[in-house]
Amino acid sequence: MRNIVEVRELRYVYEDGTEALKKIDFELEAGETVALLGANGSGKTTFALHLNGILRATSGSVVIDGIAMSDKTLAEIRRRVGLVFQDSDNQLFMPTVLEDVAFGPLASGKSPEEAAEKANAALTQVGMAHKAGKAPWHLSAGEKKRVAIAGILAGDPKLLVLDEPTTFLDPPGQRGLADLLESLPQAKLLITHDVPFAQRLTERGVFFEAGAIAAKDRIPAIVERFGW
C-alpha cells in the first residue's frame, strides 16, 4: 500500500518561541485508520492542522498523496484532506444542511447542480438525506456531527481527520458514529481521548507527549505504558 500521508521532521514554533511540534515523523497508508492519543496540549491538533495546510511547518515536510505541501499545491491538498472539527457548530455555517454540505464542492468550482448532486450523495451516505432542508441549528449533536462529516465527504477526500469526534455525543450517537466511520473507505486519523471508541476503529495508535511522538504502537500497549 502506498502512503497517503508522509511527514518528515515536522517542526512548528509559535510566534512567542514555543515549540509546539518537535521533529515529527509520521506515515499513514491509504485506507488505514490511526488514533492520535495524548494529553491536552500535547500537539495532536496542531499536528492535524498541518495536514490540511491550516498551519504551515516551521521546518520539515508534509506530503499528502504524493503532493508536497506548498502555496501552489494548497488547494489540491485541501481537496484530499477533510478536517472534521471538534465542535460541529463551528463547522456548519450555511442556512440549510444541503447548502452547508454543498459548500465544499461549490468552493472547489463545481456547478450548483453538481454540488447539489455531491451533497445529496454525501447526506445519503451519512443517513441525513431527510434533513437536507433543515437549518443546522435545529439538529441534535449527533446529527450535526453527521452533517459535518457529510460536508467533508462531499469533497471526495482521501483522508479524514477527525478531532475529538465523540465530544457532545451520547452513547447511541457514539455507536452510530463508529458504525458510519467503519463504513467509510477513506484513510482516517482520529484525534481522541476516547480509548474504547478508538479501539473499535483501529489497532494502531500514536501517542503524543509535549509536542513529540512518544510511541507508535498498538493501542492496548500504549494504554498500558502511559497509564492512559
Binding site: 492542522l49 490540511n52 472539527f85 440549510t96 447548502e99 468552493a107 450548483p112 460536508g151 469533497g155
Partner: protein
C-alpha cells in the same frame, strides 16, 4: 434568536422572496435615498411611504406585527438624536428624525427578511459593490451571530451563579465584556479555520443561481418609480 428568525423569514416562499436580490436592492436603495431627503414638511410623503412599505409586508407573507415591531428596534438610537433636536427647539426635526429612522429601518428589514444572505451579497456583487466591503458584511453577519451566542452562554452562566446577570457590578461587567470579546475571537478563529479547510477563498459561493428576469426588472422599475414619484409630486 433574532438572527435565526430573520434567517427563517428570508427562506419563506412569497412573490417578494421570488424577486431577484438585485431588483430588491435597487428598489430599497432608491427608497432609502427618498426617505433620507424627506424634510419636515413631508408628512404626506411619510404617510405614503409607510403605506407602500406596509403593503409590501403582506406580499412577503411575513408576520405583519412582528415586522412592524422589529423595525422599531432602531428607535432608541434615533431617539437620542431626536431628543437633542427637541431640546434645541426643533420639535419638527425631532419627529422627522424618528420617522425617517423607522421608515429606513423598515425598508432595510424588508430587504433582508425577504432575501437570504448569500443571495443578498450576490445581488450587491452584481451591482459592483466593492468585494472587500462584501467580505466585511459576510463576516460581520457570521460573527455577530457568534457574539450573540457567546453572550447568551455567558449570560446563562452568570445568571446561574449570581442569581441574575443584573447582580454583576460594573467592574465585573467590564471584565465579562473582555472575556466575551476573547471567547468570540477564539470561536471566530475556529470558524474561519473550518471554512478555510473546506476551500473558502474569501467568497461564499451561491448555491441557488437566480437569473434576473423581466418580472424582476418590472418590480425594480415600479417600486423605484413609485418611491420617486411620491417624493417628486408631494412636498
Amino acid at each position: 434568536m433574532r438572527h435565526a428568525r430573520i434567517e427563517r423569514w428570508s427562506r419563506v416562499a412569497s412573490p417578494l422572496h421570488r424577486r431577484h436580490a438585485t431588483a430588491k436592492i435597487i428598489a430599497a436603495l432608491v427608497m432609502l435615498v427618498c426617505i433620507a431627503t424627506l424634510t419636515r414638511q413631508s408628512l404626506w410623503c411619510c404617510a405614503l411611504y409607510l403605506a407602500l412599505l406596509a403593503t409590501a409586508v403582506p406580499l412577503s407573507k411575513l408576520p405583519p406585527a412582528r415586522i412592524l415591531l422589529s423595525a422599531a428596534a432602531v428607535l432608541p438610537f434615533a431617539l437620542c438624536f431626536a431628543l437633542v433636536s427637541a431640546i434645541s427647539g426643533e420639535p419638527d426635526r425631532a419627529v422627522m428624525l424618528l420617522v425617517r429612522g423607522y421608515l429606513s429601518s423598515l425598508t432595510a428589514l424588508l430587504l433582508i427578511a425577504t432575501t437570504p444572505m448569500p443571495e443578498l451579497l450576490a445581488g450587491f456583487e452584481v451591482l459592483r459593490a466593492p468585494r472587500f466591503l462584501l467580505q466585511v458584511m459576510q463576516f460581520l453577519y457570521r460573527y455577530l451571530v457568534v457574539l450573540m451566542e457567546e453572550a447568551s452562554a455567558m449570560q446563562d452562566a452568570a445568571g446561574s451563579r449570581a442569581g441574575s446577570i443584573r447582580a454583576l457590578q460594573l467592574r465585573q461587567a467590564t471584565g465579562a465584556a473582555g472575556v466575551l470579546f476573547a471567547r468570540s475571537y477564539g470561536r471566530a478563529q475556529a470558524i474561519h479555520r473550518a471554512m478555510v479547510a473546506r476551500g473558502f477563498d474569501g467568497h461564499i459561493p451561491e448555491f441557488r443561481t437566480h437569473r434576473f428576469l423581466v418580472p424582476d426588472a418590472l418590480f425594480a422599475a415600479v417600486a423605484a418609480g413609485l418611491a420617486i414619484s411620491v417624493r417628486l409630486v408631494l412636498p
